[in-house]
């Protein structure tokens, strides 16, 4: 202390007053302490917000597992369905056209009106075409179906020539840039091109899967990627991700986006996308030293075997439906064989292992614990430990694994002692301000350099608000169960303590979150310090006036709305938005039987009749689903909080 005062007596002081110096110094310390604490608190909130998003996302993936088990359930009840209702099975599990085969096409005959001011591509593509696409998309224009279709056909032709694993060399080029998940974020892609340069012979790229779904511009992203692929097939490389899959697209938004942007030709495009996705290579290797795959590896991963399989045949339409359900695959394959000429049982076995190899590559996640275990969160692929990584790298003479598939706050993360890099390129993935995006560059010395960005720097508040909203929706979706749990704690003692409240939430929602810390955002305290648990649900209410339904039916429909939407989309083959009332009833009965939800037939019939607005026997299910959206009554409160905790109830 004395030393510091002495220093200041010499340096600071304009008035020659020692007292002033001491005051200034004390003031400075105080302000510094206060400010450092403020920043630390922000960091803590950022971390909690992040945890909420991650937990909910993982829970969402688990729901998807439920969907695939529903399909298995339907498979099991195949014979029952056959006699008793519309043939949903064949609709759901249509053995699709072999992706390899050429589809009938007539894009040449599509008329492009004079009034169309967007790009008119000419094949083979040139730089002026890709420039035109870039400008058009920056101006929010849509590429005309005639050119989009031709682009897709040409892409499919090109991909047929590619091997499962692409081998690249740095000997002719300076640096290779590797990007992770984009998920339809056009802004991020444009930012990468801006900072790093457009793809060219001198600027090679590897895009590591998940180009589509979730973001609103998946079509534009994928058109640009394919255009550059056609233009520079030796410098542009695309790996398949787990979202390059039509069932995922049905759930996570790509299908809807395509149908909305291309009402007439969307169906044909979606079929082409299916073919293209199954024809995308699954891995890239640089200089025989660096392996790039979308998800990860398992202890079964064998790159030589992976090179040898026919990737389009193996995954075709199956990859997601059967992830994690090995028995079902086997059963389905053997039942298929009954209708086809007798094949050797060995085919089924090797087809199964080929499928699993690809599923592992697309879906696995690294973990710190050693060993390899099934990835229960995702419903497919594995959790692989540092020993699995080590073994694989050793076996194939590799030194590094680059993968994507998981959102990281800083856009990238290293693990397994630096042997695994996760690279994620969609910034603000969950919400404005949630995370940065990144890409990695490798030169001849193969030392990775990371570049981060964030499309728009925004306050923590938006991300936090969004996370809390999502969490509140989860609470609302399980209201009956939660209330039952709270009552159990309430009845013996006449109050619910914060611990008891937290316990109920933990056991019903099964989300590993710091509930006690989040408590002020979710519920009020009574004057005696116990939890006023009904206040959990105060903020949320139904959107549009609901058709007359029992409360727990409404809650169930809300909870499973995403899954229900997928099933409807599958049944509605021509994507008209309408299904017959009969199909609706049948599907719902099956779904509720599978879930074990006790909804009586009468309630469903009433529901079906009440939403058949035209009384013509068909249901507009978009309207139906809209009815079960909930609104957050206190949304306006979010606006005027500056630095204070969002919507705190104390």
């Amino acid at each position: 202390m004395a030393r510091v005062v002495f220093k200041h007596a010499f340096h600071l002081n304009l008035k020659g007053n020692l007292w002033d110096c001491v005051a200034a110094m004390k003031a400075a310390v105080l302000i510094q302490r206060w400010y450092r604490r403020y920043i630390a608190r922000l960091e803590m909130r950022r971390r909690y917000t992040w945890n909420i998003f991650q937990s909910i996302e993982y829970a969402g993936e688990q729901d998807q597992l439920q969907l695939s088990s529903f399909f298995s359930f339907m498979l099991d009840n195949f014979t029952q369905l056959n006699g008793n209702g519309p043939d949903l099975i064949s609709q759901l599990l249509d053995p699709l056209v072999d992706p390899w085969l050429d589809r009938e096409t007539c894009y040449n005959q599509i008329h492009v009106p004079e009034s169309y001011t967007g790009p008119r591509l000419s094949f083979p593509l040139s730089v002026s075409d890709t420039s035109a696409l870039l400008s058009a998309f920056k101006e929010q224009q849509t590429l005309h179906a005639r050119y989009a279709l031709q682009l897709l056909y040409e892409t499919k032709k090109l991909l047929k020539q590619m091997p499962n694993i692409i081998h690249l060399s740095t000997s002719y080029i300076k640096d290779i840039t590797i990007c992770g998940d984009l998920h339809g974020r056009l802004d991020d892609l444009l930012l990468i091109f801006y900072k790093n340069g457009l793809p060219s012979a001198d600027t090679p790229y590897v895009f590591n899967g998940d180009f589509v779904d979730r973001g609103k511009k998946s079509m534009e992203v994928v058109i640009l990627l394919f255009a550059y692929l056609l233009l520079y097939p030796d410098s542009m490389h695309l790996n398949r991700g787990n979202h390059e899959d039509h069932i995922m697209n049905l759930r996570y938004g790509f299908t809807k986006e395509v149908m909305q942007k291309y009402k007439t030709h969307g169906h044909e495009m979606l079929q082409l996308f299916q073919d293209i996705f199954s024809l995308l290579p699954v891995a890239t290797v640089i200089d025989g030293k660096i392996l790039i795959v979308h998800g990860g590896i398992s202890d079964q991963t064998d790159l030589d075997f992976l090179s040898s399989i026919e990737r389009h045949k193996v995954t075709g339409h199956r990859s997601v439906l059967q992830t994690g359900k090995k028995n079902e695959i086997h059963r389905r394959l053997s039942s298929q064989q009954q209708s086809e000429p007798k094949q050797e049982p060995r085919n089924a076995q090797s087809e199964l292992s080929s499928l699993l190899q690809i599923v592992d590559i697309l879906w696995s996640d690294p973990k710190t614990q050693e060993g390899c275990s099934p990835n229960t969160f995702r419903g497919g692929g594995c959790y692989f430990g540092p020993d699995v990584t080590q073994r694989l790298l050793l076996r194939h003479g590799l030194q590094l694994l680059i993968r994507s598939h998981e959102c990281k706050q800083e856009g990238y993360e290293l693990c397994h002692g630096g042997q695994v890099i996760t690279i994620f390129s969609a910034s603000n993935y969950y919400e404005e301000g949630s995370n940065r995006g990144a890409y990695v560059k490798l030169g001849r010395e193969l030392v990775p350099r990371f570049y981060q960005y964030q499309v728009s720097r925004s306050t923590l508040r938006a991300a936090e608000g969004s996370a809390l909203r999502a969490l509140k929706e989860k609470l609302f979706a399980h209201r009956c169960e939660l209330m039952a749990g709270f009552l159990q704690s309430f009845l013996p003692s006449g109050s619910v303590s914060v611990s008891e409240w937290a316990q109920v939430l933990e056991s019903v929602l099964r989300l590993d979150l710091p509930w006690r810390t989040l408590r002020p955002h979710l519920t009020r305290l009574a004057p005696d310090g116990s939890v006023d648990y009904p206040s959990c649900f105060e903020d949320m209410g139904p959107g549009n006036p609901l058709p007359q339904v029992a409360p727990n039916l409404a809650e169930t429909l809300f909870r499973y709305r995403t899954d229900i939407e997928i099933i409807f989309n599958i049944i509605d083959k021509d994507h008209s938005g309408l299904i017959s009332a009969e199909e609706f009833r049948h599907t719902w009965r099956l779904f509720s039987a599978h879930l074990g939800v006790d909804i009586n037939d009468r309630a469903i019939d009433d529901l079906a009749r009440s939403i058949d607005f035209n009384k013509d026997g068909s249901i507009d299910f978009t309207e139906f689903l809209e009815a079960f959206r909930v609104v957050h009554k206190l949304d306006s409160k979010d606006q005027h909080l500056s630095g204070k905790m969002d919507g705190e109830k104390c």
Partner: protein
């Protein structure tokens, strides 16, 4: 009895804050996160306070801190109110002390001089962050507005 329940609650709070940074789920956190954890529990330690605290709980310079040592030490801190919060009034006085010309705001240069040369100096990064956060469109730091906006209520 009430005392026991209270300390159980305190333990829970500390654990929750600790867990947020326990990435490997093995009850250890990086020593560099300790400041954030302590701040989030409602305390306002100075850098020196932090240094002293860390010296007591760090595992032999490994760079990690185990929950076993952190929990009792932190419990003591909370129960003895060791690093009490700074009230808005005191903070305002501090800013006023720096505002020699009594103009009700500080220029970035003034603030920078104090923050980077006095007390427990900021790094350049911290300084830049603070200016970005506090300076208004006229590039002045109107501390009266800033203080009320940025005071976060303690969690119950």
């Amino acid at each position: 009895m009430a005392g026991r329940k209270q300390s159980a609650d305190v333990h829970q709070k500390i654990r929750a804050a600790f867990d947020a940074f326990d990435y490997e789920a093995n009850s250890t956190v990086d020593v560099r996160e300790i400041g954030t954890i302590i701040y989030s529990l409602g305390c306002f330690p100075s850098q020196k306070d932090l240094h002293d605290f860390i010296a007591k709980v760090e595992e032999d310079h490994t760079g990690y801190i185990h929950l076993d040592k952190f929990l009792p030490a932190m419990t003591k801190v909370l129960q003895e109110h060791k690093f009490p919060p700074i009230s808005e009034d005191l903070l305002l006085q501090a800013f006023e002390a720096l505002d020699k010309e009594k103009k009700d705001y500080l220029d970035p240069e003034e603030l920078t001089k104090y923050m980077t040369q006095e007390g427990e100096p900021f790094t350049q990064e911290e300084m830049e962050e603070m200016l970005t956060a506090l300076a208004d469109h006229r590039n002045q730091i109107h501390y009266k507005d800033v203080v009320s906006q940025m005071t976060i209520k303690p969690d119950k």
